[in-house]
Symmetry: C2
Subunit: 496 residues, 2 copies
């Protein structure tokens, strides 16, 4: 037997310090592992008789008890079968046990979900912290001290209780704080019981899909539009119908309600991503009335709604009329920081009872300390003060970006800017946005190609989506100058 499984060695530090019981345990573990390996690799084939415990103990130089326990363990988990005739190796069905070579046996034809290939077709670059990245806030201006105090406070007051499972829909304190904030700042009609905390806005979108659609259902999507909404609809195996976007926001052809009656409609009315259009009130009301008529749900992704730069804030679509068929979605990825991953959806009053069981099974809660800290951060006014400071900062940065674009890309057609942290620059047809973005990435700049957000490519989807949230004003001009050079703009189109 020793030629099959090899001799056993004592504990590594065998210099007398290891106790007898530790040595025994090590030998026993070794013996079990060696026997298992020999069985799995076929060196001890199925059906072969193992030596008696007395014989093997003598051969391996261990106590008989060590072998008895090893055999018992192997029998308990099925490697060997012990009966009156002795201990035999189980007839195992592994290809390895039959001596087939491992290398060729890999996973032969991997069958993926159909949706995996739909994703592959739409992939582009991933968000990071380079200049001009859209969607990244000014993290160096985040009030870390105040946030850590809120965290500290929730640790002191809620541990160890808050280590355990909490409410699957999130901490009641946070849901109440969000509801109060949304009522005042965004005109949302809600209370904490209708707010469900999610893993960022993305899981809020997934939740909407899971609650209200079946595979194959029709979902409308803004085109060009937010990639995260496409991802959520893809995951739900929905049939996506692109809806054009004009300067008043999502522009639904009048017959679409009949010819492509939707179950779900994704909108970003406060500041359409990426064109920056603000959805007009007339269209908001029309969407609400038509959605109600055909039993569809509107997802209102209040993207950038907190960072309004011009005029009075426009209240949310959800709060425009009573019981609007609106699922209001938001997150703290921009207003706080991306790694926080706290988002939410405000569910309609009407659905609470019917969906309770499903929500209990779908949601798991968690991250309770962070949620309690955020509740405190909002209630103590820190959140509001932070938003105010960021609004002023982003206004300055937007102006610097506008100035630079007007200078280096004149005559520049700039879209958006009423809210948020990005502007969109239309490009003339002779400058392809994807080519320019590739070159920009190579120099350490990270704008996005407008065409990457479009399902249907058109002349007006050639452009750059340029973030100014995380880039200081004095770096924006230099970055835009580099972009213009990369675009090969002739000197007479630049005013320098």
């Amino acid at each position: 037997m020793i030629e099959i499984i090899g001799p056993l060695s004592g504990p590594a530090s065998s210099s007398g310090t290891a106790s007898a019981s530790a040595k025994h345990a090590t030998l026993q573990k070794q013996l079990i592992e060696r026997l298992q390996q020999a069985i799995l690799t076929g060196r001890l084939p199925g059906g072969s008789l193992l030596p008696s415990s007395r014989l093997l103990a003598a051969e391996m130089g261990v106590s008989r008890n060590t072998v008895v326990i090893a055999y018992e363990h192997l029998a308990a988990v099925g490697y060997v079968i012990a009966d009156k005739k002795g201990t035999r190796v189980s007839p195992l069905s592994s290809p390895t046990a039959r001596g087939e070579p491992q290398a060729s046996s890999g996973v032969p034809d991997v069958a993926y979900a159909a949706r995996v290939d739909r994703f592959a077709a739409t992939r582009t670059h991933v968000a990071n912290s380079l200049p001009l990245t859209p969607g990244t806030p000014a993290l160096d201006r985040f009030p870390l001290g105040a946030w850590r105090r809120s965290l500290e406070r929730s640790m002191e007051s809620a541990l160890p209780r808050a280590l355990g499972y909490g409410d699957p829909a999130g901490e009641p304190a946070l849901r109440d704080a969000i509801a109060a904030h949304l009522r005042m700042a965004r005109g949302v009609r809600c209370d904490g019981s209708r707010v469900v905390i999610t893993e960022g806005a993305q899981e809020a979108l997934n939740l909407c899909v899971r609650l209200f659609t079946n595979p194959g259902d029709i979902a409308w999507i803004e085109d060009p539009g937010y990639r995260g909404a496409k991802a959520a609809f893809n995951l739900g195996d929905l049939t996506m119908v692109p809806m054009p976007v004009d300067p008043e926001g999502i522009a639904v052809p009048s017959d679409a309600w009949r010819t492509h009656a939707p179950k779900l409609i994704y909108t970003s009315p406060a500041h359409q991503y990426p064109t920056g259009a603000v959805l007009s009130v007339a269209r908001r009301l029309e969407l609400i009335a038509q959605a109600r008529r055909c039993g569809a749900w509107l997802i209102e992704d209040d993207y950038d709604g907190e960072f309004r730069h011009t005029g009075e804030p426009i209240a949310s679509m959800q709060g425009l009329v009573d019981d609007a068929p609106v699922l209001y979605v938001g997150s703290f990825s921009k207003t706080m920081f991306p790694a926080l991953r706290i988002g939410f959806v405000v569910l309609p009053r009407a659905i609470a009872a019917h969906t309770e069981a499903a929500l209990q099974e779908m949601l798991r809660g968690g991250h309770r300390l962070e949620q309690l800290a955020l509740a405190h951060f909002i209630e103590s006014g820190e959140f509001g003060r932070h938003l105010g400071r960021m609004r002023r900062l982003y206004r300055e940065r937007q102006q610097a970006l506008r100035d630079a674009l007007s200078e280096y890309f004149a005559p520049a057609q700039i879209l958006g800017g009423d809210c948020g942290m990005h502007l969109t620059l239309r490009l003339p047809p002779d400058i392809r946005d994807r080519t320019l973005v590739e070159r920009a990435c190579a120099t350490g700049l990270n704008p996005r190609a407008l065409s990457g957000f479009a399902l249907q490519q058109r002349a007006d989807t050639n452009g750059l989506v340029i973030g100014y949230g995380s880039t200081p004003a004095d770096r924006l001009a230099a970055s835009v100058r580099v972009l213009a050079e990369l675009a090969g703009l002739p000197a007479d189109r630049r005013s320098v």
Copy 2:
């Protein structure tokens, strides 16, 4: 006009302290809101002509500029239309604007996803911190001090950088730490690049479903089995085929591979939930060989695998042979604490390239501080020491529970206990488990009904699933005595 929109009031604290510009801003905001409300409620119907800015300014007692800006704002967002003939209310299509009563207009026939009703059918009580709750660890023994030091350390070294978006698959440091731990403790064959961090084990299950199945595909599930697996399969609209469980674990009828060829198979081999069966090696190898043959994936949920109480630890199924078609799933909800919500899946080497784009769109990363802190907690050895302490504690508690069950429910048929934090007690047919659990909950105890985990009710699915993780040994006996009393066991069946 003033009779429609009411008079404007100055700022609340009008005692001279408010600056002129603050007063102006307040009046302007008020004017906009009043006009919006009048338009939305139909008091200013679509098409009606508004007074000139000069006239309205005089009537309301504000500067003409205030009215001009208000009209501009209302025009910009679509409430009014301004042309040469003056400013008119837009023809809005809201039911409210048409004067229809709000109360009756609610959401008429809400159409939910079919899966919502499937959930409703299987709902039971939710986890909490009462005695005998299965699945809750000993949170009062969690080393909070060491964990807070790890958190503190990651804040000091990684902020503000770690506020931003990170790798969608999780922090590389944590993925490496988990891979190293799994290789040593569980025999998993992996490196950090194959570990994907998820929002608890539940999202890991959802990820497996999303990557490898289409709606309607066949998925096998242990019966009785883990409810979270059913939830994940439900969300993926899979056709669930229940597989019986016997003392050797999941027991697949030999013809099932042909008659119900699966795409996905859920197993909990280390300690089947809730029966506690340990899957024999023979069956592990058979599952791997058959799954490979028919292109199916095995989900190995290593539930409780870290808390092995008897014999040598059994290595994971994933590591049994090279390139096993196994998706290894785990979480830190039991080994650390539930609210941490960090789980993971070890993906097969073969799929990395094909699924990269889909994973980038499906995952968002986040919780970077917690992930970095956990990486440090594992690497510094704190995690291993904590596991060791908890193993000893749970062994003591399990023995106390066994003793109490033998005393009060004699002759007690107790299942499981090789791993984990629960035992399962079979009940005689005259004691219905759901009835007993309802009574127990009313007295503040929280065992689960075994039948609640079964898709197909049988005589042997009548029992109690009893957690001992969070209940001190000296409270277990008293709790079990209460259970026996509630079960109405005759005095002669108790030894007291």
